[in-house]
């Protein structure tokens, strides 16, 4: 366990370091933020002055060195656009994205696991086929397209659910959340569903193939030979086994849910970090982009760590610590 933690920590440091260089250089390569930020009416002298003021006249390695020195002290720089600490801006937006991501993953599990198990138990039945065909659709449809269709259908044509924004929020432990108000929930549903669809299909598939494989195992037959009821076999023996891949994959996918929130948030104008990223990229707001990515990497590292621990809890065969 100790070795595992050390290994993870040292890997994380390397990952963060490498990512910071890549991202820093990448955003640098895109362009000069002053070109976008400055008022076009500014004359040449003013443009140069602004570049100097923002420290963009220095060579990139100097800029990176400054960034790194500050970053080590927990300061990832100020947003060029908003003149606020990049981390503050992100943390302000983070709850919205996390709320969306967790709800999406929740939906994916709550619907995906039972449907997948059903399809796995009856692979050749009509129900099984319908579920699988549905999951192929869910798997295939690009997120943005589904989002657009959802808006078309539920917001514009039917007028049932709002098309954009976050709606009313209430504070829960000082963090604004939407899911506690009806209005917030109505805003949350479409984007969450949009985001969940892909993962749900993934869970359905995992659960189905897991179920099919587990059902073929001797221990299931042995359990039946013991006289254990079908409900218990499915609910305990099968479920516990398929939850291992489901939890592992979903844990890792939580990262990609957060990443894909970029698309969903753009479509639904959801005020989360994904939209912030897109805006920041288009404004070349480098501090925010770098901070966003470093924060996400950190988040993924933490998620991976938790997933591994969870995995070792779910699957007693796994022992943390052994190399690889």
């Amino acid at each position: 366990m100790l070795a595992f933690t050390i290994r993870r920590l040292s890997q994380s440091v390397v990952v963060l370091f490498v990512m910071s260089i890549i991202v820093f250089a990448g955003v640098y390569a895109i362009g000069n933020p002053v070109d976008i930020l400055i008022n076009p009416e500014a004359d040449i002298a003013e443009q140069e002055e602004t570049i100097r003021r923002l420290g963009l006249d220095k060579p990139i390695w100097t800029q990176y060195g400054l960034f790194l020195a500050n970053a080590l002290q927990g300061d990832l720089g100020n947003s060029f656009v908003h003149n606020l600490p990049a981390l503050d801006i992100i943390f302000q937006r983070l709850p919205a994205t996390l709320e969306l991501a967790f709800l999406a993953v929740g939906l994916a599990v709550v619907f995906g696991v039972p449907l997948g198990m059903l399809a796995g138990l009856k692979p050749d039945s009509v129900v099984g086929r319908v579920i699988m065909t549905g999951s192929i659709l869910g798997f295939s449809l690009p997120t943005f397209w589904v989002g657009l269709m959802l808006i078309m259908l539920f917001s514009v044509n039917m007028g049932w659910l709002p098309a954009s924004g976050r709606g009313e929020t209430v504070d829960l432990f000082g963090i604004p959340v939407s899911f506690l108000t009806l209005d917030g929930l109505s805003h949350l549903f479409l984007p969450a569903f949009n985001l969940a669809l892909f993962k749900m299909s993934l869970v359905i598939r995992l659960a189905r193939s897991g179920t099919r494989e587990v059902l073929l195992q001797d221990y299931i037959k042995f359990a039946r030979a013991k006289g254990v009821s079908d409900a218990r076999i499915i609910g305990v023996h099968v479920l516990k086994n398929i939850m291992i891949p489901v939890v592992t994959v979903l844990g890792l996918e939580l990262g990609s849910v957060i990443a894909f929130a970029v698309v969903t948030e753009t479509v639904f104008a959801w005020p989360g970090i994904g939209k912030l990223l897109i805006d920041s990229i288009s404004h070349l707001d480098r501090p925010v982009v770098v901070a966003y990515l470093l924060l996400t990497v950190t988040m993924f590292i933490v998620i991976n760590f938790v997933v591994d621990i969870l995995y070792s809890i779910l699957d007693p065969r796994v022992r943390l610590g052994g190399a690889n």
């Binding site: 991202v23 397209w145 990262g255 990223l277």
Partner: protein, 297 residues
């Protein structure tokens, strides 16, 4: 250990084909997919219009309804805002989408496959290094990497392909390494070693063919993924250039008109994208089932 006495002519391909044909939906998917590929390849010869030739299109024909008769041809699926025949546009868009999907997948597959095989067979530091890089890249969602890369590299079909390769290669490296590690321990590799057959021959003649089935499955599904990812990037406005629109870009361009009732500009490309991805996934799905020995009785 069923009957061994079978026709001499029977080869694994035929069994494979008949296994595959068991699911009608998959066969349908395959037919559609092949048809789409043909449509994409032969687009210049079968489309009524070349939507890239500015002399052939007239923006005064912009946003005509499906079935409208234009100055030269009938626009069966209508036109977009530039006066391009949408049917032709979709064929050409399909060309771009499929080309991007296939090219990126192929390059990534060869690159990732080679690296993975290399890592698995030689192990040690090479393995550690390659796999750490792959982990690094896999710990990051594809969309984010692609987003940053395309932003950094700029627009262009080639740039999109590069970034799609960058996000995909690690899957293949992982997949093939996993399989190769299993295969490498199998006794037939030991037998080959024992017969003093060279490393190169073992890797390429013995190991590689046995590692490819999962790669094919992953590859097929990845083509669909790549197409979808490219569409998403284009939707976010940082994919292929507007002069060579992929299906994703056609959707994006048309979406502005969706609410104003000119649904066809976005809808038909969307439909085409959908059919493409679904058909590929149907094929990939069945491949997975057919090539998965564990589900075989």
């Amino acid at each position: 250990m069923a009957a061994a006495v079978q026709d001499d002519g029977i080869n694994p391909w035929r069994t494979f084909a008949s296994d595959f044909a068991e699911k009608k939906l998959a066969v349908l998917g395959l037919i559609v997919f092949v048809a789409l590929i043909a449509a994409a390849i032969f687009a210049p010869w079968i489309t009524p219009q070349n939507p890239y030739d500015l002399n052939q299109i007239d923006f005064l024909d912009g946003r005509l309804e499906p079935g409208s008769v234009g100055s030269q041809i009938t626009y069966w699926l209508g036109t977009d805002d530039q006066g391009r025949d949408l049917l032709s546009g979709i064929f050409y868009g399909l060309r771009t989408s499929l080309a991007v999907g296939a090219a990126s997948t192929l390059i990534a597959l060869v690159l990732g496959g080679a690296l993975g095989l290399f890592a698995a067979y030689f192990g040690g530091r090479v393995d550690t290094l390659i796999m750490r890089i792959a982990d690094l890249q896999l710990s990051f969602p594809a969309i984010l990497i692609a987003l940053i890369l395309v932003s950094a590299l700029g627009q262009g079909v080639d740039k999109v392909i590069i970034s799609l390769v960058a996000v995909q290669w690690a899957y293949y490296a992982r997949t093939i390494r996993g399989t190769a590690l299993v295969e490498r321990r199998k006794e037939y590799v030991e037998a080959a070693t024992c017969l003093a057959i060279s490393h190169r021959r073992i890797v390429f003649k013995h190991l590689m063919p046995n590692c490819t089935p999962p790669l094919i499955v992953v590859g097929t599904v990845q083509v669909a993924h790549a197409i979808s990812l490219e569409a998403t990037l284009s939707f976010l406005g940082i994919g292929v250039p507007i002069t060579e629109p992929s299906l994703g870009l056609l959707i994006k361009n048309g979406f502005d008109y969706m609410l104003s009732g000119d649904y066809w500009v976005s809808f038909y490309p969307g439909l085409a994208l959908l059919i493409t991805i679904v058909s590929i996934n149907l094929v990939g799905d069945q491949l997975r089932d057919v090539l998965n020995p564990r589900l075989k009785k």
